[in-house]
């Protein structure tokens, strides 16, 4: 989780990731940021993220992202 938060604030520093649960819905993250996050996550956690995974439910909060990473690690 710590590593995830670090990645997030490096890409888009203006958000409080600990509390925000509307990263997508309130447009904190644009598509460039989303892809940057994906690219970093893939490298850092050695997972493969597909277009099907890019849905608001997975990206709206740091917690949701963390869940997704864990799930993909297990599947992988």
């Amino acid at each position: 989780m710590e590593q995830l938060l670090e990645i997030l604030s490096e890409i888009q520093p203006d958000v409080d990731y600990k509390t925000c649960t509307t990263l997508i819905d309130d447009e904190w993250l644009d598509s460039f940021a989303i892809l940057s996050i994906v690219s970093e996550l893939e490298e850092a956690f050695d997972i493969g993220i597909t277009p099907a995974d890019i849905v608001p439910e997975n990206f709206n909060s740091a917690q949701a992202l963390y869940q997704m990473v864990k799930r993909l690690q297990e599947e992988g």
Partner: protein, 508 residues
């Protein structure tokens, strides 16, 4: 059947009255019948294209589901699904490409190789770009497991053909649109009122503003060599007005009509000229095309294996931060190339798309520099003044792109830009040459006042005011006065075109 024609009004009236009289479980079927009548009114033969897209997409969706149920080994299943998807995409985008771009290809082959292949005189089925995109979005959603394949072919046919949106969008998503289409709807007076208000508002934008601005636009863009720089500028500003009022006005009518049937379509516009950047602009302009491109082109391309390899390479060469952005920029350029081509088969549209794509890519590459710059000049990013600067800057950038969009050709676009800058003098405002463009001073006044009205409403919406809801709270007489002004203002101040004018986006 044009949206502003009497027959469309009668058609909608009959469809809507019947819709609420028949048993609710047949409502969706009723919509399907009317959708097909509507489409057939543009040419019965064109129904074949619609049925083709519906049939192939439906079949592909069902096949994808069958594979899923078979419980094949993972790899095998994946390969099978890929084959079905590829076939479905090829059959449909292939059809679109052949119908729309053959002549463009022929023209370019002829020009390069000095051949003389003849042009095809195919009829372009109305709205083919819109319903093809909508159908392929569905197919990809099924492929990714984002939604289930529709089992009933007739229901699926309604999703593809729903008449209000088939000609000029908005491009619907299966998960949001289909449920509403199949649901049973009860008559709701409040909803009807809102719908009618929206339709009226759309007519206002189209008939009073877009059609009037179009006069200057056509005059100058078609005879651009005859006009001075400032008139070129006036024309491009008028095009800003025309395009927005025409397209968003059309959308208001479409959404209002859909709403009469209890169906809320996706928003296509969110006050685009308030955008603070080009990226922001595309979040506000033709939104459903933008999100379609994002979900079905931008993400898949960015996440593809070969793009991953480019990413690794670029990180090595340019370092982590820049290297990470480069593949995204490439995907972004591909998206905007497609957006350009989507608008039409011509080089000027390709330039239009690439222009937007390049600005977005470059600005995201330079984002760190930009942030530094703001710090150095200690500009408060959250101040109102800075926002205004951003909005104006974006508006200028967008107007530059309109030259590509509207000029008769790519070279004409460059010539016009040059004239605008080099031949600029304010004398046109004094010597009366503004009045030689087909509008008189009263027309300009109506345009100005009309745009101010739209600006005022948009400004309130930006502030979060829901116009129709807040209107509903006003006293009855006030409301009636507003409706009356719209109802009678449209014929009073609407522009009369001597030929029937269609909507710009109804030709894609």
């Amino acid at each position: 059947m044009s949206l502003i024609s009497m027959e469309f009004l009668l058609f909608v009236l009959v469809a809507a009255v019947g819709y609420y009289l028949i048993p609710k479980k047949y409502q969706w079927l009723w919509l399907l019948v009317f959708s097909y009548i509507y489409y057939a009114s543009s040419g019965v033969k064109l129904l074949l294209f619609l049925v083709y897209t519906t049939g192939t997409t439906y079949a592909a969706g069902r096949l994808l589901e069958k594979v899923e149920q078979k419980e094949l080994p993972k790899k095998e299943a994946k390969a099978a699904k890929r084959r079905i998807l590829t076939l479905g995409l090829l059959l449909n985008f292939g059809m679109l490409a052949v119908l729309k771009y053959t002549n463009f290809a022929v023209a370019n082959v002829n020009a390069i190789f000095h051949t003389s292949f003849s042009f095809q005189k195919w009829m372009l089925p109305l709205g083919i770009s819109f319903y093809t995109f909508q159908s392929m979005g569905y197919l990809l959603d099924v492929y990714w497991g984002k939604c289930k394949a529709e089992k009933n072919p007739l229901r699926f046919a309604l999703f593809v053909s729903f008449f209000p949106q088939i000609l000029q969008g908005p491009i619907g998503r299966f998960d949001r649109l289909a449920v509403q289409l199949y649901q049973e709807h009860r008559f709701d007076l409040q909803r009807m009122q809102y719908a009618l208000q929206l339709i009226l508002w759309g007519f206002f934008k189209k008939l009073v503003l877009a059609d009037r601005a179009a006069v200057v636009v056509n005059q100058v863009f078609l005879n651009y060599t005859q006009y001075s720089g400032v008139l070129n500028l006036v024309a491009v500003l008028m095009y800003s007005v025309q395009l927005y009022m025409d397209f968003s006005g059309g959308m208001d009518v479409v959404m209002g009509v859909a709403s009469l049937f209890g169906i809320e379509l996706d928003q296509n516009f969110k006050r685009p000229y308030f955008a603070v950047s080009i990226t922001d602009f595309w979040h506000r302009w033709h939104i459903t095309l933008g999100t379609w491109m994002k979900d079905y082109v931008f993400y898949p391309v960015s996440l593809s294996k070969w793009m991953g390899r480019i990413g690794k390479w670029s990180k090595k060469v340019f370092g982590k931060k820049t290297g990470r952005v480069i593949p995204i920029c490439i995907a972004n350029l591909i998206v905007f190339l497609l957006v350009g081509v989507w608008h039409g088969a011509a080089w000027k549209f390709i330039a239009y798309g690439l222009y937007h794509g390049l600005i977005i890519s470059v600005s995201s590459l330079l984002a760190p520099v930009y942030r530094k710059g703001l710090e150095i000049f200690s500009i408060n990013q959250k101040s109102g003044g800075w926002k205004v600067v951003q909005i104006l800057r974006t508006f200028v950038l967008i107007n530059i792109s309109w030259y590509f969009d509207m000029a008769v050709s790519l070279s004409a676009a460059f010539t016009m830009m040059k004239t605008t800058v080099t031949g600029f003098s304010l004398s046109a405002f004094q010597d009366g040459s503004l009045l030689t463009l087909g509008l008189d001073w009263l027309d300009y006044l109506i345009l100005l006042v009309g745009c101010l009205v739209v600006f005022f409403i948009s400004f309130r919406q930006e502030r979060g005011v829901k116009i129709r809801e807040s209107l509903a709270e006003k006293p009855l007489l006030f409301r009636w006065a507003v409706y009356g002004m719209l109802l009678f203002g449209i014929p009073m101040f609407g522009y009369v075109m001597t030929t029937t004018g269609g909507f710009i986006y109804a030709q894609f």
